[in-house]
């Protein structure tokens, strides 16, 4: 199959450990089932955007998720049939009205931001979850030597975002450690304990404010719009599944979702089972050889506009680009032609040693006029050639 989706490997009963990768896999499975394969990738640097997921269609690469969705939605599948050629509509949102599409765009941005922050907090900020589950899981996927430094780097890129959302450095559940023999048990200040509890309550309050909105929006419906999953269902499900499936040592948010928002958990599982009814329904696994030592060299890939699918509205800009490239090509050809036809001629004259000695003697006698004579000689040669 030409279409290959590159994602982080799967764990915890899911096809991937990254919400964007899960969303991409769900979208492709719901729109083009059987037309793509999955490649487990642990080197995000080969992606055009530097992050997973990305899709390859022959020599063409597309990333990240929004571009993948647009690319798949407009991709023409299969050969033209005898009856004149029809192409499949690979758009999950084809039945949405313009008004609903506008709302979908806003809701997807809200999920990626707010629910994404909650997920980032659960996976990367909570120390015990990172130390005992997420960090070792990432390290187990990565080859040597990346497993020793890439997980920490992945955690570090979430820190500025989570700090801005006040979801970083929140203490996890304190497990009372048995003091070692001879050591006194450390008495924790009451103020410190109070602060820890207060910060955890803030996280829960922030999560409730966010999840209440989606519980009200979903209501008793099976999906958000109409009776089939749309991009909004896919994006929310991919985040909720990663909140409820992994066996977090500190299940603060997992417990909140499963106990207080069972409808959201049920919706997420419903969307996942609609795409993958069982593990046998997973798409074919494409083999991909990855050289861990080659990945040590940075690629410094500059984002290419051709690697991102653009909406079809920009016809005027395409014409301008054609004219611009045409002008640049004409200028280059003109410059080269001018140098070939009428440019200055530079000749390298090779003089033998005997002649140079003779010339040196003559120069000594004539007082340095030989350089001008040589130039005159070269120039006269040029004139002769021009006359011919």
């Amino acid at each position: 199959m030409a279409l290959v989706l590159h994602v982080w490997p799967g764990r915890w009963g899911l096809i991937s450990i990254d919400p964007q990768c899960i969303a991409a896999a769900l979208y492709l499975q719901l729109t083009v089932p059987g037309e793509f394969s999955i490649a487990e990738c642990t080197n995000p640097d080969i992606s055009p955007s530097g992050k997973l997921p990305f899709v390859t269609d022959g020599m063409h690469s597309v990333s990240p998720l929004a571009s993948i969705i647009k690319f798949v939605s407009h991709r023409r599948l299969g050969e033209s049939p005898p009856d004149g050629g029809t192409h499949h509509v690979n758009d999950l949102d084809v039945e949405l009205t313009t008004h609903e599409r506008a709302q979908k765009a806003a809701w997807c941005a809200h999920i990626e931001s707010q629910v994404g922050d909650l997920l980032g907090h659960a996976m990367y900020s909570m120390e015990v979850n990172w130390r005992e589950l997420v960090g070792p899981t990432l390290a187990g996927m990565l080859p040597v030597p990346q497993r020793y430094y890439v997980p920490a780097r992945i955690r570090d890129i979430y820190k500025p975002r989570l700090e801005a959302s006040e979801l970083w450095d929140v203490p996890g559940e304190e497990v009372e450690e048995k003091p070692k023999f001879g050591e006194k048990k450390k008495e924790e200040a009451k103020e410190h304990k109070f602060k820890q509890v207060f910060q955890r309550e803030k996280v829960v309050e922030k999560a409730r404010a966010c999840l209440d909105i989606y519980a009200r929006l979903l209501g008793r419906k099976r999906f958000f719009f109409h009776d089939r999953p749309t991009t909004l269902d896919v994006v929310l499900a991919s985040h909720i599944l990663l909140l409820i499936n992994p066996p977090y040592p500190d299940p603060l948010l997992k417990s909140l979702v499963t106990d207080s928002y069972p409808e959201l958990a049920s919706h997420a599982r419903s969307v996942y089972s609609a795409a993958f009814p069982s593990s046998e329904a997973y798409p074919a696994l494409a083999s991909q050889a990855q050289n861990s030592f080659k990945a040590l060299i940075p690629t410094f890939r500059f984002p290419s506009r051709a690697s991102v699918h653009r909406p079809e509205v920009k016809t005027d800009d395409d014409k301008i680009d054609v004219w611009t490239w045409g002008w640049i090509a004409m200028a280059a050809i003109g410059a080269v032609g001018y140098w070939v036809l009428a440019g200055p001629r530079i000749q390298i004259v090779l003089v033998e040693e005997d002649e140079t000695e003779g010339l040196a003697q003559e120069e000594g006698e004539e007082g340095g006029a030989s350089v001008e004579e040589e130039e005159h000689l070269v120039a006269s040669l040029d004139d002769d050639e021009d006359d011919e």
Partner: protein, 293 residues
């Protein structure tokens, strides 16, 4: 009773003669200008506008403009504007800040006739006091709970997608200088040197083409959602979402980089341009330059 001190150490005569060439003068203390001490009208400190600060009182910074729009849309008038204060002079090292002649009294320690400099997040409380609002509206001005919930999504779209496009394609703007792309983009960008390379992580690999595509989608959605309504989400009166939308649209339409991809997307939507123009007049009318009568 005067006290004199004498020292057993004396300055040598040659040194005294040399130092006499550099006499010490004491200048009188500089008196603070009375115009800026304890103003009698509420005064908002903002980042300066892009051009003509004497007549254009709308800030070039989205954060400051958002609060200006909020104050104007709550029908508060006569607020003075100062553009000569640096960000470090504001509360918490940030602008905007609002000077009020009568303290808000939240801490209960200030006297009633003392002024107070408020941070941005206390502006709604001050406006509620000015408008004698006793009980906060649970719907925040929206027509129903669904609209209020939906407003959260639109606020995130503006502060996330549109804001990241603003700081990516207008890096020299006032807004971009006070924002970090790593804390705005979601999911956060990978380092420029890559995650797996041996080089230490440096910079941020911002997928600018992706940011532009999402921005175009966001502006299209915004235009579709506004349609022909007077205020967003069909509200009867302006809401905080309208203030935020106006701030971003005004900053994009009046940016220093004319004809950029951001501005082009907005100018294609006639209803957004017309809406911004109408609201702009409303917001300008609420402010007066500090020092003017």
């Amino acid at each position: 009773m005067s006290t004199t001190t004498t020292s057993f150490l004396t300055l040598p005569a040659p040194l005294r003669t040399f130092l006499a060439s550099f006499p010490l003068y004491t200048y009188p203390a500089i008196q603070a200008r009375p115009a800026h001490s304890k103003p009698t009208h509420p005064t908002i400190w903002i980042h300066p506008p892009l051009s003509d600060p004497d007549h254009n009182l709308l800030s070039a910074d989205v954060e400051c403009l958002k609060w200006q729009a909020y104050i104007a849309m709550r029908d508060v008038e006569g607020v003075r504007v100062r553009c000569d204060v640096k960000a470090e002079g504001g509360v918490g090292g940030r602008l905007p800040s609002l000077w009020v002649p009568v303290a808000l009294g939240l801490e209960g320690q200030k006297e009633a006739d003392e002024g107070e400099l408020l941070p941005a997040h206390l502006i709604p409380a001050w406006v509620d006091r000015e408008k004698a609002v006793e009980k906060a509206d649970e719907l925040e001005g929206y027509k129903d709970v669904e609209a209020r919930d939906e407003s959260r999504a639109w606020v995130t779209l503006l502060e996330g997608t549109v804001h990241s496009a603003l700081i990516t394609f207008q890096p020299t703007s006032t807004t971009a200088r006070s924002s970090s792309v790593a804390s705005i983009l979601t999911p956060p960008p990978a380092p420029l040197t890559g995650l797996a390379s041996l080089f230490p992580p440096y910079g941020a690999h911002v997928p600018s083409a992706e940011v532009e595509v999402k921005y175009a989608e966001a502006i299209s959605a915004l235009s579709e959602r506004l349609s022909g309504d007077k205020w967003f989400l069909g509200s009867e009166t302006p809401t905080p979402l309208d203030a935020l939308a106006f701030a971003y649209l005004h900053a994009i339409l009046h940016s220093s980089t004319s004809g950029g991809p951001l501005r082009t997307q907005v100018t294609r939507r006639v209803n957004l341009v017309a809406w911004e123009r109408r609201v702009s007049g409303l917001v300008r009318a609420a402010f007066v330059k500090a020092g003017d009568v």
